[in-house]
Symmetry: C2
Subunit: 334 residues, 2 copies
């Protein structure tokens, strides 16, 4: 019997923020498993801020393709395999795209998952790029020391909420920037931030400044844009600003203007560094072990927002960029 594979295709490159209308739905008969391939039935699809970049025509570290299922991480079950290392019934995570079934080669698979150790969706959540990004960019790039002040933008999001908790565990004073009073409450009450500020409230920059009398030693920045322009002057001499996302900038075409920063970098010897998790595979083991341990000990709060059905994916990405999400967004298919 033919299996119909429902897919969410990228219909047009993103112009500015992702829109649900940038995608279209399709159905395709699943082709038989080719040599060197496996067929995976997706259980959970990931919705990530990084997808905006992947669906942009501009130069990027990783691009989706027009007319193909939207590039996405997912977790699922192998239903057919021509590879000796995978067999039907194995759970795996990897680049399986926004679709019900993925017909992929070994390169698309990140790793096998043992469902006995916890919910399989952790593999694309806390134990996936969300947690890995938080741990590695914070530890390796900022390298926070006890007593330092760490600032986090998009502080209540999937990555931000973990960064805040890790920095706190490692002895830092942690300040968050977020986009609603509800998220601000979660920063303070769930994620342990010492202080947090809603950038939609007038006077937030002055309030943030007052909360950082000794300046900022590390800035974990997923916002960029005008939100960061307002706080970079608080960065201390020899501080580190790691750029993990640019959610506050709607469009890069044409390149927007910004206050010129090189003098501030120079006189304070600030390091401003980009971060792309996929360049740091050699650090995944340490990070995964640490995060899994925290998870097992219930030492980290991780919010997931689970939406049902493939059909909800495009709108979920659109609303992520409107700041409407409540933690890490997952699409449940089964």
């Amino acid at each position: 019997m033919d299996i119909l594979n429902k897919q969410v295709l990228l219909a047009s490159w993103a112009r500015g923020l992702p829109q649900a209308s940038d995608f279209r739905f399709a159905e395709q008969v699943l082709s038989p498993c080719k040599q060197g391939h496996v067929i995976i039935k997706n259980h959970y699809l990931s919705v990530d801020p990084a997808q905006k970049g992947w669906m942009s025509k501009a130069q990027n570290y990783s691009n989706a393709a027009l007319g193909e299922p939207m590039k996405a991480l997912a977790v699922g079950e192998v239903i057919e395999s021509s590879l000796p290392e995978y067999k039907a019934g194995d759970f795996v995570s990897g680049w399986f795209g926004w679709q019900q079934y993925a017909h992929v080669d070994a390169d698309a698979i990140d790793r096998k998952i043992n469902p006995a150790t916890g919910p399989i969706q952790n593999a694309i959540g806390l134990l996936g790029i969300v947690g890995l990004t938080a741990y590695i960019a914070l530890k390796d790039v900022i390298n926070p020391r006890p007593g330092q002040t760490i600032l986090v933008s998009t502080a209540a999001g999937g990555v931000g909420s973990i960064v805040g908790q890790l920095a706190k565990r490692w002895g830092c004073r942690v300040i968050g920037i977020t986009g609603s009073d509800e998220k601000l409450g979660r920063c303070l009450n769930e994620f342990g931030y010492n202080a947090a500020f809603n950038y939609k409230k007038e006077g937030w920059q002055e309030a943030l400044k007052a909360a950082c009398p000794e300046g900022i030693d590390g800035y974990f920045d997923m916002a960029g844009g005008w939100i960061s322009d307002g706080v970079v002057e608080l960065l201390n001499a020899r501080s580190v600003h790691v750029q993990v996302g640019t959610a506050a900038v709607a469009s890069w075409d044409p390149t927007p203007q910004a206050p010129r920063r090189e003098r501030l970098l120079l006189v304070k010897e600030i390091t401003h560094q980009g971060f792309v998790i996929f360049n740091h595979a050699s650090r995944f083991d340490e990070a995964s072990r640490y995060l899994a341990q925290c998870l097992a000990n219930k030492e980290l709060v991780f919010r997931e927002q689970v939406l049902d059905g493939l059909e909800s994916a495009p709108q979920a990405l659109e609303s992520l960029y409107q700041g409407k999400n409540n933690g890490k967004i997952l699409i449940r298919l089964t």
Copy 2:
């Protein structure tokens, strides 16, 4: 007999580029040597691009003071000392200012100089902050590897000419940006650049791009501003942009606008880092030894432009910012 000390005082904070009119001349009777002090007769005064920052009212890493002799490095001879470690006849370099005589405590003295090992002015030239900056920012921040392409702005200047030669010695392909055809010729013929471009010539950016088919791995940048805006897109993934100066930006008040850069930094994991030589004192020994060895072996070309008389200092600084200098500028007083 009273000694008259001629001085160049900072008369007004710099607005934009330094002007000779920002200074005024004064004469003062030299006071007797105080306890804990020495009196130094300056032989050579330094004129440095960094002085623009020091004479700016804005936040900086180091400021001059209004109505005081302009902050400057110098080399001179101790003529009177109340400190056991210095005696009359010793040559020393340090923060002696634009004046004939300096009455300073031990903190102002950087080091003693042995005139038998070479011209004393080397202490504020190749073996001073010029050479130290070139060596340490290139080696420690960019860390160039053989076969890489290194770009240098203000390529024919005191620091730039040394960076170019060091990068070449260390196996790199070296590209320079400079401001006249005469300097461009020196880049190619004296300093060993593989290619160089005059930013005053139309089409220089396209020509530079064509000369870097494999992109740029390290950018030693003393220009910043529009000159750098035009080349940062050539930076390779995981490259390093070290900001050592911002000569191409006339004024930082108000903060000028620039193309927003954080997306480029992010997707390519570029590191953009400021550099202030005075934070790297622990590295001076290694750098000095290396440079002194090169100097002894005549392996580095170092251009000095020596101007006579204290009166020439203000105009020399003004013309430095007009790109009219011919290597490192020194003022000879004796």
